[in-house]
């Protein structure tokens, strides 16, 4: 084998070792970067995070931290769809639309059939879309990018048709979703009651279960995994169904947070969720990823969002800067760790 250019460039052994350490523990530099961004925010607007610097009471603004976490939760949940699917070198671009669909279905069915059936049907919607994705990716072997874009398009069309049947019934949001979405306990958002068990479950699923190992195996080398007896289509079917379920739960939580169902409710979360997963150190080519990183990635994106709002930039400049920052963070990450 010839010597790779990257290896010769980073000739300092300590730097190489440091890079490898970071590659194995992507969460550490990310948390450092998160704190850097937060301190930058504090410099821009003294007192927003640490009220005593702005002449007010309190050491840390629990309100601000709570708000940050509250808005990062749905993003992190949809990023979980991306992390899980990216482990197998896939992607789930239908997640945002699935979240919107389940939120809309839940809000419109609630006045008709009550909260529990409405929530169950909304989650079933996510699973059905996920199963279609899984069928396309696992059985028919369509590229996940195209398959999920396509099911997203179909789901949008179905939602528009569905909307005209329920236009007269009105909408209502289940009380417990509102409690989860907007309520606070000890200044922290109630969404954490859902999110913490969820995050533990995902991390456990990825690190400690056979299913998680199958995902890593399929992403690292699908052919080798198949030769070792993995029935890949079953794994893909389960994976995308799970991804659809996660997306629909995230949509329900977001519904409780925004409290106004619309036909494009969670769609703006779609592309940032990919960004959160990528910033969090998940490889889009499969085989490597961590959900803890994606959670920090979601927090980073929310802090950046706040900064851009504070700067009072025109909408266009905000969107453009958002894109540039995603690019910069990923480029830095690739440069430091020497991996893709």
């Amino acid at each position: 084998m010839s010597i790779h250019p990257e290896q010769t460039a980073a000739s300092d052994p300590r730097l190489v070792r440091f890079g490898r350490y970071l590659a194995d523990n992507p969460v550490i530099p990310l948390i450092a970067f998160l704190f850097f961004l937060i301190s930058l925010l504090e410099v821009m607007r003294p007192g927003i995070v640490l009220p005593f610097l702005g002449g007010r009471e309190g050491i840390i603004s629990t309100f601000w931290v709570g708000n940050l976490i509250k808005f990062a939760i749905p993003l992190a949940m949809i990023a979980a769809c991306q992390v899980l699917t990216m482990l197998t070198a896939g992607i789930d671009l239908s997640a945002g639309i699935v979240a919107t669909c389940s939120a809309f279905v839940c809000a419109t069915l609630m006045p008709l059939i009550g909260p529990v059936p409405a929530v169950l049907i909304a989650m079933a919607v996510g699973v059905v879309v996920g199963l279609v994705n899984g069928f396309g990716v696992g059985v028919v072997r369509v590229h996940p990018l195209i398959m999920t874009l396509g099911t997203g398009l179909i789901a949008t069309g179905c939602l528009q048709v569905y909307q005209r049947f329920v236009i007269a019934t009105g909408t209502e949001i289940p009380a417990f979703l509102e409690w989860l979405g907007t309520g606070r306990t000890f200044a922290m958002p109630n969404g954490l009651f859902l999110f913490i068990p969820f995050a533990i479950f995902i991390i456990w699923l990825m690190r400690a279960t056979g299913f998680g190992r199958l995902l890593f195996a399929l992403g690292s080398n699908e052919h080798a995994a198949k030769l070792s007896g993995v029935r890949s289509w079953q794994v893909f079917l389960a994976l995308y169904a799970l991804s659809g379920l996660i997306a629909s739960v995230a949509g329900l939580l977001y519904l409780g947070m925004i409290r106004a169902p619309s036909l494009s409710l969670a769609n703006p979360l779609m592309l940032p969720s990919v960004a959160a997963a990528v910033i969090g150190g998940t490889s889009i080519f499969g085989g490597r990823g961590s959900f803890a990183g994606a959670i920090v990635g979601a927090l980073i994106l929310r802090v950046i969002d706040t900064m851009l709002t504070l700067l009072q930039m025109p909408e266009g400049a905000r969107i453009a800067l958002f894109g540039l920052i995603i690019l910069l963070v990923t480029a830095l990450y690739v440069r430091i760790t020497g991996t893709r």
């Binding site: 992607i91 396309g136 028919v140 072997r141 369509v142 590229h143 990018l145 195209i146 398959m147 874009l149 396509g150 099911t151 997203g152 398009l153 179909i154 949008t156 069309g157 179905c158 528009q160 048709v161 005209r164 592309l271 990919v274 960004a275 990528v278 889009i284 080519f285 025109p314 909408e315 266009g316 400049a317 905000r318 969107i319 453009a320 800067l321 958002f322 894109g323 540039l324 995603i326 690019l327 990923t330 480029a331 690739v334 440069r335 893709r340």
Partner: protein
Amino acid sequence: MTRLVQKHAWVLGLLVLLIALLGITKLIQPSFGATGLESLARAALPFAFATAAMAIVVIVGGIDLSIASMMAVCGVTAAVLMQSMGAVPAIVITLCIGTAMGAINGALIVITKVPDIVVTLAMLFVWEGVALLILSTPGGNVTEAMQGIIGGSILPGLPMALVVMAVAIAAVWMPVRRSKIGLSIYAVGSDELAAFRSGVSVGWTKVAAYALCGVLAAMGGMSLIMLTGIGEPVPGPYLLASVAAVVLGGVVLGGGRGGLLGPIIAVFILRIIRTILTLAAVDPNVTTIVEGVIMVAVVMLGAIVTYRGVRA
């Protein structure tokens, strides 16, 4: 002759399908004729440019998620420029801007070594923001002469829009396809390492491919404002449509195989399906569903065919 047929089997199949669909349209709506073809070609114009742009980057082994945003930037730029200057300088400047945007995408991919899909995802936001900065609400104007270019037919059954599209895409693609850079694009797409070891400059080839994609996206953006007569800063639904048409057109995701003819025929197939559904008085929302199902089904069929081919 048989070899020629075998080599272009996929494209020929698409052509047969397109003709069959045109026949079905004629059956449903006996009055479907020259005007129907004209409106079909006009509606397909931005999709065709977006698809050609996407096809080139897919052939080089990448993907460009920012195509719709680049089209929006070029559309608003042209619309704003045409308020103060003639159509020709405005078109030239817009084409240069499109090339520059594409080259920036390519250069960022090469320099940062971040995967194409992530870079262009980030650039999707950047270009969308730039379009909004140029023009925050739909506006600008398009000269009458330019809107006139794509109306009518040269010969009966040969819409002007189709000719404009064929000439524009051929003017970009033919010189490239016949020269060293075209060969390099296919080489890098099929095996980057092998191309590198054969002395192909991988970085420059990628930048060139993305720049070509930018030129075609600029044309797509301008065709869009020719259709609507106004600059619109919000990206249209061209991403999924172009990816679906590229795959349906026989270009393999991953690079190295396929041409531009197949994807462009595929655009017309997808458009004519929409026409048929409209003529059959299907609810437009249901049309979206049917269109999506057809795109997915076709892509699935293509996947089965290639998968069987690989296994056999």
